[in-house]
Symmetry: C2
Subunit: 113 residues, 2 copies
């Protein structure tokens, strides 16, 4: 079963803003923006449960912010920068410029005490 | 009791995006952007209950998107454009360019059938 992805003309401003309105999702988006190589969900090492992580990726995908492709047992994530820039010019750049830093691969967001 | 308004340096990208991620709040913001004259909450004539409207204005104010000043028994709303543009350059313009049209004063959003 293929994963739902809205087409570019189906993208809604309110959905995209909602998808970007969570600090952890913003971190994911910023990380994907730094490097166009598709990344596995597990490579972000956010300090959250797997189900929460899966939820965040689903929200991003269903809003049209990211593309998810299945490759074997993994899901590879990439930013739909061209679609977003085409539909909402300047939005992603403005959000990325104002959002906190990216999540490095294998680098936890929260320092262990 | 004065209403809570975050200072410019307290504005958080995720909070602002969340405040803007609702179609009705987007309509309110777009309307306020069209005319800098402060407007009463009741002047928007959105087809929603008063309590929902009050909720939307509170979310916008607490995120720092709008300023609310009490004048007698009314609350006057205005957009914090300068604070938003200073903190998140280009964000508001990009959102307004991509959002649906404004709510005219006394012009219902939903046409009566």
């Amino acid at each position: 079963m293929s994963l739902f992805h809205p087409t570019p003309d189906q993208l809604q401003m309110a959905d995209v803003l909602h998808a970007l309105s969570d600090p952890q999702r913003l971190c994911i988006v910023r990380s994907l923006a730094e490097d166009s190589t598709p990344r596995r969900c597990g490579s972000f090492d956010l300090d959250i449960t797997k189900s929460t992580l899966t939820h965040h990726f689903r929200v991003l995908r269903e809003a049209g912010v990211i593309d998810q492709r299945e490759e074997g047992t993994a899901r590879l994530n990439s930013l739909r920068r061209e679609d977003l820039d085409g539909r909402f010019p300047g939005l992603l750049d403005a959000v990325l410029a104002g959002a906190p830093g990216p999540v490095s691969a294998r680098s936890p967001v929260t320092a262990s005490a």
